[in-house]
């Protein structure tokens, strides 16, 4: 009974959170909205990475590459041919934004599928290194396929459109309860809805047969094969799904940036995503969202309030500045979380209550499964 109560309580918390998030654009300014867009995009990407790394135990460092495919796929498919300065003219397919976004996600999935023969054969650190190569190939292509990506300068991403409603500052002008809804307010809702859908889809996948199969693969591939799980197919499939999540995150990043630049999609981004799922809690969808919010927001919020944090050096002075401080906090937390809470922030926030029954979307930090996993993938 107490288990049931807890489940309802946590569901109520989630619903209340969604309601608050839905109302926020009425109150907060541009900074928080922009931050929210980054968090939504990062959360979707992190859920995807979590499927392949957290649940299936496959270390992937290629996430930045798949994000780039989503971002530039969208920019290219929805864009028009324009001159972007520096003598570069970018090409475009002028597709409707909704179709372009869907195709960009499919494209990221296709890239994942092409890589999946490798992903299906390798594991652990070997897969990590193999996937690493995609990031470097991606950087080279982004900088040199100038008519698609714009090269170093990047290219503009066309504003999103849904059945004639544009996600820009006007067309149509929109005022809700006395607050003018510009581009960031509109994109906020797009991001929120996409995140909710992605969240529900991932929890359902993990709760069902595929989720249990992936967890078994993580714990022991031999055991999984004995139970009749097609290990290679499942691993490949997890990789495809994960890259599609990354592709969607990439589309959102392109919309939030307005002009994605190649410099963003580097190895650091892949590592940042790994940090999100480790801090949030490996294997937990909720953890991925919490980790994404934490890792994305912390540095920006600290810089935002740097004027008020009097113990930090002000810009131009010597000493520990806000950005350095954020790095220390971030690095320190990764260590603390790994040491004292292997279940991540999600574990601290009580998501462990969901472990009973079939809903094991989170490895037991003390159980044998996670200790096996930690040995195999010391992230």
């Amino acid at each position: 009974m107490s288990e049931l109560l807890r489940r309802h309580a946590s569901r109520a918390v989630i619903i209340a959170l969604v309601v608050v998030l839905a109302a926020l654009p009425l109150y907060v300014g541009a900074f928080w909205l922009q931050l929210g867009l980054f968090v939504f995009a990062a959360a979707i990407g992190a859920i995807g990475l979590n499927l392949v790394t957290g649940t299936a135990g496959q270390l992937s460092l290629a996430h930045a590459f798949f994000l780039a495919i989503g971002a530039y796929g969208y920019a290219y498919l929805s864009g028009t041919a324009t001159s972007i300065g520096g003598g570069v003219v970018v090409d475009g397919r002028e597709l409707p934004p909704l179709l372009a976004a869907a195709l960009a996600v499919a494209l990221a999935g296709l890239a994942g599928l092409l890589f999946s023969p490798i992903a299906g054969r390798l594991r652990g650190i070997y897969l990590g290194v193999a996937s690493l190569s995609l990031v470097f190939i991606g950087q080279h292509v982004l900088l040199n396929a100038k008519d698609i990506t714009g090269g170093f300068y990047g290219r503009n991403a066309a504003p999103f459109q849904l059945f004639g409603f544009t996600f820009t500052d006007e067309d149509p002008d929109l005022t809700v309860l006395g607050v003018r809804f510009g581009q960031r307010e509109r994109l906020w809702y797009l991001g929120l809805v996409l995140l909710i859908l992605c969240y529900l889809f991932a929890t359902n996948v993990l709760r069902g047969r595929p989720g249990r199969a992936l967890q078994t693969i993580r714990d022991s591939e031999i055991a999984a094969a004995t139970m009749g799980v097609n290990v290679r197919a499942y691993k490949a499939w997890a990789f495809v799904l994960s890259s599609m999540y990354a592709g969607l995150a990439g589309v959102l990043v392109a919309l939030a940036f307005q002009r994605p630049v190649p410099d963003y999609f580097n190895l650091t981004l892949s590592i940042t995503y790994l940090a999100m799922i480790v801090i949030g809690g490996l294997g937990s969808v909720r953890g991925a969202v919490i980790g994404a919010a934490f890792v994305t927001a912390l540095p920006l919020v600290l810089t935002h309030y740097s004027d008020h944090l009097t113990f930090l050096a002000q810009p131009g002075e010597s000493g520990v500045g806000a950005a350095d401080f954020a790095k220390y906090v971030y690095g320190g937390l990764v260590i603390v979380v790994i040491l004292v809470a292997p279940g991540g922030l999600a574990g601290l926030f009580g998501a462990r209550g969901r472990q009973t029954g079939v809903t094991t979307d989170q490895p037991d930090p003390t159980g044998p499964s996670s200790s096996v996993m930690v040995k195999e993938d010391p992230l």
Binding site: F257, P260, V261, A323
Partner: protein, 432 residues
């Protein structure tokens, strides 16, 4: 017996709670006090004012790198600008208003920069500094939409087409054209010689390469290009390849680390040809490394602003202000350039004040009316009336020298070579 399904009851309860929440939110939302967007243009004592301008202050934004890979440069440029505005404010400011800098640190991270910009946008009149090529590229669309008048910490000719960008100095291509002309004048290279060029992938390197290609064609040199990535730290393969081609000089459009590697390998392999780099290739800290002696022997730097040790009135004022405020800091040319950039920005602000229009539109108008920025010799006179063209074609050449403050000593003062005067900028005639 009537049983109640506790699960259903729970769902109903949750729903009810959610509804209650929604109602509360909707009620509170009705009295939301969120303001809409940045400050709009107002008229104030006969002067039209835009965002960031009050009766007593003009706030300008600085989005720079104080904690990332370009922190050394970002810090001194910001300090130089702040010191100039301190002096200006003491003398009464502009339009009776004090100039205030709102400084934010993006750590050379594109996402952080894009995240910090919206907040800054509504509270500043313009951007006194925007550091980092990828960041300038990512914010290009925003800068255009918001008509944000900006000094980019970049000297790439490819950004000249943006009417919001004020390049302080000449561009990378012209730095090298002037530098190569100087090398020919000095007899270091002559017609028919092979010259190597190690340059970075991306805006900075490719702009430098535009200049070296032009100069090589005009002067009858054989140019051997070697493209590298920003993360490379060792350039020995490139130097070896250039050595095989028998180059007589090597041009560098690289990071400081790569410069040190190039000098060390150049000397160690016995090649010993002179190196000529663009202004960002050097930081004084390099002279303290193992490559220091090689750099002192071989490195020349072409730039359009005086180094920290410059002897013009402007550079001297900037240096004495810096020394009294930061006596223990390791100085570099960033503070001198930062001072000069601030002076250039102030020149445009004064013009806008004379026009009684301190709005963003007014700033853009004043910008194109600015035909001569005088920085007391830090920079050549800058003329912004021709969109798409660099504001000056002059550059100076300095030599790495441990005994000079800031590590550089001028060997050829500011001058535009005949070749530089002939050069047509890639964005010529664009960006009105």
């Amino acid at each position: 017996m009537r049983t109640r399904n506790p699960y259903q009851a729970g769902t109903r309860r949750t729903l009810r709670a959610a509804l209650a929440c929604a109602t509360v939110v909707a009620l509170v939302a009705a009295c939301s006090t969120k303001s809409n967007g940045g400050g709009s243009d107002k008229s104030n004592g006969g002067i039209k004012t835009g965002p960031g301008v009050t009766d007593s202050t003009i706030t300008l934004g600085v989005l720079t790198d104080l904690s990332g890979v370009f922190a050394v440069l970002g810090k001194t440029v910001t300090q130089g600008a702040q010191l100039y505005f301190d002096k200006l404010n003491k003398d009464g400011g502009i339009c009776g208003r004090q100039i205030k800098l709102l400084v934010k640190d993006d750590g050379y991270d594109v996402q952080k920069a894009v995240g910090l910009y919206p907040d800054m946008e509504s509270s500043v009149l313009g951007m006194e500094q925007l550091l980092g090529s990828p960041i300038n590229a990512a914010l290009k669309q925003n800068i255009e939409t918001d008509k944000m008048f900006t000094i980019p910490v970049s000297w790439a000719s490819t950004i000249l087409d943006n009417p919001n960008n004020m390049i302080v100095g000449t561009t990378y291509d012209l730095e090298l054209i002037n530098g190569i002309s100087w090398m020919v004048d000095k007899g270091m290279i002559k017609r028919g010689d092979a010259v190597g060029h190690i340059y970075l992938e991306g805006e900075y390197g490719e702009d430098g390469y535009l200049g070296s290609k032009f100069a090589a064609k005009e002067l009858g040199l054989k140019l051997v290009g070697q493209k590298i990535t920003a993360t490379a730290t060792d350039v020995s393969t490139q130097i070896a390849a250039l050595k095989n081609q028998g180059v007589k000089a090597i041009l560098l459009t690289t990071t400081p680390t790569q410069t040190a590697s190039a000098a060390a390998v150049d000397a160690a392999t016995g090649l010993n040809v002179p190196l000529l780099g663009n202004n960002p290739v050097f930081v004084p800290q390099l002279l303290g490394t193992a490559a220091g002696p090689a750099l002192e022997k071989l490195l020349y730097v072409a730039a359009s602003f005086e180094p920290y040790s410059g002897d013009s009135a402007g550079a001297t004022a900037a240096r004495s202000a810096f020394e009294s405020k930061y006596p223990t800091a390791v100085p570099n040319g960033g503070s001198t350039w930062g001072w000069g950039g601030a002076e250039a920005y102030a020149t445009v602000l004064k013009k806008a004040c004379d026009n009684k229009d301190l709005t963003r539109d007014g700033l853009q108008k004043a910008f194109r009316q600015t035909t001569s920025v005088d920085t007391d010799g830090i920079l050549p006179s800058l003329d912004y009336s021709n969109p798409g063209d660099p504001p000056t074609r002059e550059a100076l050449v300095s030599k790495a020298d441990k005994s000079a403050k800031g590590g550089l000593d001028v060997v050829q003062p500011l001058k535009a070579s005949d070749l530089a005067k002939k050069y047509v900028a890639p964005e010529h005639g664009k960006g009105g």
